[in-house]
């Protein structure tokens, strides 16, 4: 297995592939992220979106790609009843909630053209693909109280391809829910596409337990949440992750340390 690591979007991307990729393919993948960063990063004053935020350019005058992305974000805002929104409290349009996922998604499409077995992780958002004869990738879900430990192990590649985790400690920012402080400190969502997983993970953090129920019933996703008291809730699929974790822990405990 080969691992390729590169900086992008203020974080680090890790690409695991079964077979090594050509330099051309790797360069193309990195280029996708560069393009998205240049267009949407609010940390880069020269990006298109920063210029919209500063008032130099109107959103209606931007490229159709930016407007489509904005429309997508609005669509998700409507679908999540406002829990996910591209509008910051200071009225700046912040598309970072979907941009990372869109970049990963586009990179994934490119990768699938070259190889069947790949796993792309960008700052905790993961998209993977597994060939017909291969075993799913194993992805761990961290324990929000101890970053060195896992509370679940999920399989990605065949049934579910995307996994995203949202937490209140994300980059030190706090996601404030509509009802005050977040009920959940961490939410992990597995879906068939990374945008859905990412958006819903954000939405769950911003919502209440009733919102979680609604979201898990409305979308075909697996969800694992941890609330302020450390209690966990999970859909049947996510419960499987914790069982796998517990089994591995038991196995580990019973194996004499080498």
């Amino acid at each position: 297995m080969t691992v390729h690591v590169f900086d992008t979007m203020g974080t680090v991307a890790s690409l695991h592939t079964a077979e090594p990729l050509s330099h051309v393919d790797l360069a193309a993948v990195e280029a996708i992220f560069v393009r998205y960063d240049r267009t949407y990063s609010l940390y880069d004053a020269a990006s298109d979106l920063s210029r919209v935020a500063s008032g130099d350019v109107r959103l209606s005058e931007t490229s159709s790609e930016i407007r489509d992305t904005y429309a997508l974000a609005l669509d998700w805002r409507q679908k999540t009843d406002g829990l996910f929104t591209p509008h910051r409290p200071d009225d700046v349009v912040d598309l970072s909630g979907v941009v990372k996922a869109l970049a990963i998604d586009e990179a994934g499409t490119l990768l699938s053209g070259s190889t069947d077995d790949w796993l792309l992780t960008v700052g905790g958002d993961i998209l993977g693909s597994r060939g017909v004869d291969s075993v799913d990738w194993s992805v761990g879900v961290v324990d929000p109280d101890d970053r060195g430990r896992l509370i679940g192990i999920a399989g990605l590649g065949s049934a579910r391809r995307a996994l995203a985790t949202s937490g209140i400690a994300e980059r030190g920012e706090h996601i404030w829910s509509r009802n005050g402080r977040s009920h959940y400190v961490q939410a992990t969502v597995a879906a068939d596409d990374i945008v859905t997983a990412d958006v819903l993970a954000t939405a769950i953090i911003a919502g209440t337990p009733d919102d979680l129920d609604r979201i898990s019933s409305q979308w075909d996703v697996d969800v694992l949440t941890v609330d302020r008291d450390g209690a966990m809730r999970g859909t049947p699929g996510a419960a499987e992750w914790t069982r796998r974790c517990a089994a591995a822990a038991t196995e580990r405990a019973s194996t004499p340390s080498v």
């Binding site: 009843d81 009733d210 609604r214 019933s217 409305q218």
Partner: protein, 479 residues
């Protein structure tokens, strides 16, 4: 159909009818008791269906774990919804003109029951929606408006449920007498047909929201079966069977004869018409397939008993629809639903027969008379008309009366000014009453047909005179 003449061997005693009349009456009473039992059975079936609807909920575990106010409110809402839908399906079966129902109860009475259920059912549906919204809202800590929005946007089948509610409201409101009177019949009818859509679009949310009818439960199977039965009854008895009848008998108009101002007899030709089994006094729902009459179906009595190839109906123009009938050209194709009605000799239970008709009400009376095997002086007939122009078909009635040795009385003239009597002013002043007209009134089956208000007055007098309810027969037409 000719009647057999009885012999006059036994003297006519004022209080004891002739033995032959008694025997006939006895067998009719037996039939009546059987019909009565059947009606009771059907009524109990309606009760049972309602109880079953509620029992569906009681048999689900949720009914036994009511902890909070919100769950009790929701539970009441669920029960209201189940009961409301069950009654809607009952209403549909009542409107389906099921032959069994017609034979024992009468289609016209079934329609009357159908109409009486409309408003209560709508209230139940509204209560259902309201209580569930409040109940869910209490559980979700949302106000009713917020909860409605949540329900509307979260659950896939809820928009359809709200549509169903809106359609039901439209149907019931337009069926209120005050509103219906102001609408053309066709408009009312089209809106009423929306009730089928209302019923259909309500089903998805019943099957997907909540746990009583969840998949895998016997409740779900029963519920779907209920829908199949109700809608199946419509499909079979309102569409399939009439289609068979129509195409089997190929009825067409051969003549439209004006017999009085505003009154026409439509002569019909067809094949094998005796197979229809029309009894004198019955009616059919007729649809004349011409460009400006095809969308309006009319309930009209047969004004004579059909023979193999000929039938006749007589219509008075009472509105735009019936007026158009008088202009139908010969050759027009006719479709028929029916025959329906219990206004026949089969419904008799008493030894004597009192027939009283006013205006166009003479049509079923005339064919009833034709279809009855009468002994001498078994029947007495009173014909009422507000003016001499209203004497159509009287000659035919007189002819049959002569042949059967029945007595006919005529009453012509405007009503008494106080308006509270069925008699003409002249006869009112003369002191004419039901008792004075009909000998053996209390041992007679009295058949009344005419304008609704007039019929009501006759029936009132009959009841006051002490005629038992099952001996009073009236034809109620408004469909």
């Amino acid at each position: 159909m000719t009647s057999t003449l009885g012999t006059r061997s036994a003297p006519r005693l004022p209080h004891a009818p002739a033995p032959s009349l008694q025997v006939a009456a006895k067998s009719r009473r037996r039939d009546h008791r059987r019909r009565s039992a059947a009606v009771d059975g059907l009524s109990i079936l309606v009760w049972v269906s309602g109880a079953l609807a509620v029992a569906l909920y009681l048999a689900s575990p949720g009914a036994h774990i009511l902890g909070s106010v919100s769950s009790v409110v929701t539970a009441l809402g669920i029960v209201a919804g189940l009961l409301a839908t069950d009654l809607v399906l009952v209403m549909i079966v009542l409107a389906a003109r099921v032959p069994l129902v017609d034979r024992v109860f009468g289609t016209d009475r079934a329609i009357a029951v159908h109409r009486s259920l409309g408003k209560p059912v709508l209230y139940l549906i509204l209560v259902h929606g309201l209580l569930i919204t409040i109940g869910y809202g209490l559980a979700d800590s949302k106000n009713p408006v917020g909860e409605t929005i949540s329900l509307f946007t979260t659950l896939d089948d809820m928009p359809l449920a709200y549509l169903s509610l809106a359609l039901f409201i439209a149907v019931v409101v337009t069926s209120l007498v005050a509103v219906r009177r102001r609408m053309p019949y066709e408009a009312w009818h089209v809106i009423h047909l929306l009730s089928y859509i209302a019923v259909a679009v309500a089903l998805p949310h019943q099957l997907s929201v909540g746990s009583v009818l969840a998949s895998g439960t016997w409740q779900r199977v029963y519920w779907i079966a209920l829908y199949v039965v109700a809608l199946g009854a419509i499909a079979v008895f309102r569409f399939a069977m009439p289609a068979v009848v129509t195409f089997r008998h190929r009825i067409r108009v051969i003549d439209v004869e004006q017999i009085a101002p505003g009154v026409v007899s439509i002569h019909l030709a067809g094949q094998d018409l005796t197979r229809l089994g029309v009894r004198g006094g019955q009616y059919g729902v007729w649809r004349f397939w011409t460009a400006n009459t095809w969308w309006h179906a009319h309930p009209v009595s047969f004004s004579s008993v059909p023979d193999e190839n000929r039938a006749r109906i007589t219509v008075r123009d009472l509105g735009a629809g019936s007026r158009r009938l008088s202009r139908i050209r010969p050759g027009a194709f006719v479709s028929l639903e029916g025959p329906y009605g219990l206004f026949t000799a089969k419904a008799r239970t008493a030894p004597y027969l009192a027939l009283i008709a006013s205006g166009i009400g003479i049509t079923p009376i005339r064919s009833l008379l034709e279809d009855s095997p009468l002994r001498a002086h078994e029947a007495t007939i009173l014909l009422r008309g507000s003016d001499p122009d209203q004497r159509y078909l009287w000659n035919e009635v007189a002819g049959i009366a002569r042949a059967t040795k029945s007595d006919v009385f005529a009453m012509i003239g405007p009503r008494a000014s106080h308006g509270d009597a069925w008699q003409s002013a002249e006869d009112w002043n003369r002191g004419v009453t039901l008792e004075s007209t009909f000998p053996h009134l209390l041992q007679s089956d009295i058949y009344v047909c005419g304008p609704q208000a007039w019929t009501d007055l006759v029936v009132r007098d009959a009841r006051l005179a002490g005629v038992p309810e099952h001996q009073i027969h009236q034809e109620r037409f408004t469909s």
